[in-house]
Amino acid sequence: MSDAKDIPAHALERLRGLRGEGHPGGIFTSDFSVNEFLLVRKAGFEPIGLCIGSCIYHVGIQYGSWNKNQELEMLSQAMYEARELAMVRMREEAAGMGADGIVGVELTVKRLEWDEHILEFMAIGTGVVHAKGHPGFKGPKEQPFTSDLSGQDFWTLLHAGYRPLEMVMGSCVYHVAHQGMLRSMGNVGRNTELTNFSQALYDAREIAMERMQNEAIEAGAEGVVGVDLHEGSHNWQPHVIEFFAVGTAVTPITSEQDASVIPDPQLVLSVNS
């Protein structure tokens, strides 16, 4: 457990109680549903333990110019760094328990009710290990892989000939200018595009995408699957919006499967619904 130097003593205690190499009598913990558990096993993996990383972060104040479209870099950086810290701590736990990776990672952001500037970031998932000790499933830099795919999707991904590397993300907090709509009062009665707002959304989305893609390049991925691109406002003023892209970077499995052996799904119709 050489990687676990930053993990507190009571957490180490918990890790020692888990099933793993040298601890066949330990138990495992997991938030898998029954079906997820079955499919992760079917994929040849065993759950070891729940991995948690959290980060409580004070997000500084940054105001955008009233009439300007601009990224609020300080907020982008805060949202990015806080998520990253939570993920790193979760991965440290996984490395400490000897996991090959973490599946079903849930990444949540919550505002603490007593201070609008403090956000709680939490990452939680189930650490898994290859049942026969196959060494080829680790993520980049021999670290455990991370993935937000469910246990079912993990099985399916492996059957599609890919393995997960790392959750990749890109964040951009953007201030949308106030001015523009009434740039000419003559526009009020017209149906017309407000191009400066269109630009703001394009620019912010583009920046978030670029950042996620850069992470994927760094992870050495072939592609990013299950990308979710969404917008959110974490109690900021209404013109400040976060564009957040997240997905799982994947790479083909070492012994690449021929595409023709990928199972074709069978259509079923439930007749008693």
Binding site: N69, Q70, E71, E73, Q77, L149, D153, F154, T156, L157, A160, G161, Y162, V176, N187, V188, G189, R190, N191, T192, E193, L194, T195, F197, S198, Q199, L201, Y202, D203, R205, E206, M209, E210, Q213, A216, I217, E222, G223, V224, V225, G226, V227, L229, E231, S233, P238, A249, V250, A259, I262, D264, P265, Q266, L267, V268, L269, S270, V271, N272, S273
Partner: protein, 336 residues
């Protein structure tokens, strides 16, 4: 990088904020791009690298879809989007139709830059920010290339995810695009109602209401009377029919059928005060997926019927929200 840039880079741990000159240049590029229907250089560069396979592909596909796509020779390239922030001045209804049309053109522009054959899993979206009488119309999807199919001038725009896309293609049904129909009319009791078609092609029908029918429209019938309100009914039916007719025309330009999943209809009574009688506003928007298929082609798939033994919450019977549905929108007041 400037000296200031170097200092900032140090402060931000290597992630330097874009300096204002850079960001002004970006804005100028966006400005020119939106005006001349082209892409800013940095977007073109990103899409170019993705098309050449120099950067990782990006896909909204699930793991199952990735496998199926790979088996069928469908390769994801990148996510593409189209956005148009639209202000509805004289017409809310028409603004919606035009906003979606613009967004669609821009999505296709990005897809063409990739040399894509299709954009799958296209979702109609809007962000939660309403500024005055305006909102954004955004389409996001995954651009793909299909092995053995040359890049066409007009990539297919499919609102279905890859899983359904493959099933449809196998059954000789090609989802090709999005069709939109939108229509609004005012009913002004006593004056007649003014029909306005969004494309300006519908005849301007004008109805004059008699005093008794005006009373019916205004609902001033005695409370214990059972009676249909034919004028109001006819008015409302007309709006829906014209919206559907426009959907049909938009669909005819693209394919052989429209699966219309999204309907939004509102019939509003507008009080005007000053002893003026109230008027009625009817508006209807319908959006659908255009498909191209031959009549009576068979479906090659075997379908197994199963009896699901769960009492509730079966994944087979659970309702999933339609992926491409941006409505219901919040009720918008103000301009129509």
């Amino acid at each position: 990088m400037s000296l200031l840039g170097n200092i900032l880079a140090g402060m931000f741990g290597g992630r330097a904020p874009r300096d204002s000159g850079q960001s002004a240049q970006r804005m100028a590029e966006w400005d020119a791009a939106l005006q001349h229907n082209r892409l800013p250089s940095f977007v073109a560069a990103r899409l170019g690298a993705a098309a050449a396979g120099k950067t990782p592909w990006i896909a909204t596909m699930s793991a199952a879809e990735l496998g199926l796509a790979r088996r069928r020779g469908i390769r994801p390239l990148a996510m593409v989007s189209g956005t148009c922030w639209y202000h509805y001045g004289y017409s809310w209804t028409r603004g919606h139709a035009e906003g979606w049309h613009h967004a669609l053109q821009r999505l296709q522009l990005e897809a063409r830059a990739l040399g894509a054959n299709a954009v799958l899993d296209v979702k109609l979206r809007r962000i939660e920010l309403t500024i005055g009488d305006s909102m954004d119309f955004t389409l996001v999807g995954t651009a793909v290339r299909i092995d053995g199919v040359p890049a066409g001038a007009q990539p297919i725009v499919a609102t279905v995810p890859a899983l359904e896309f493959v099933r449809l293609i196998e059954a000789d049904i090609v989802p090709v695009g999005i069709a939109i129909g939108a229509q609004y009319q005012f009913l002004d009791p006593g004056v007649g109602f003014i029909a306005q078609s969004i494309l300006g092609t519908a005849p301007n029908r004008s109805f004059s209401l008699t005093a008794s029918s005006a009373a019916r429209v205004q609902g001033s019938l005695r409370p214990f009377t059972n009676a249909p309100l034919p004028e109001l009914g006819q008015f409302w039916e007309g709006i829906r029919r014209q919206a559907l007719a426009e959907l049909l025309r938009d669909g005819q330009r693209q394919g052989t059928g429209v699966l219309a999943h999204t309907h939004l209809g509102q019939l509003l009574k507008v009080e005007r005060g000053n002893n003026s009688p109230p008027r009625f506003l009817g508006r209807h928007i319908v959006i659908g997926t255009v498909v191209d298929t031959r009549r009576a082609s068979g479906v090659p798939h075997e379908i197994r019927t199963v009896v699901d033994m769960r009492d509730a919450l079966s994944p087979l019977t659970r309702e999933t929200p339609p992926a491409h549905n941006a409505y219901p929108v919040r009720e918008q007041e103000g301009a129509i």
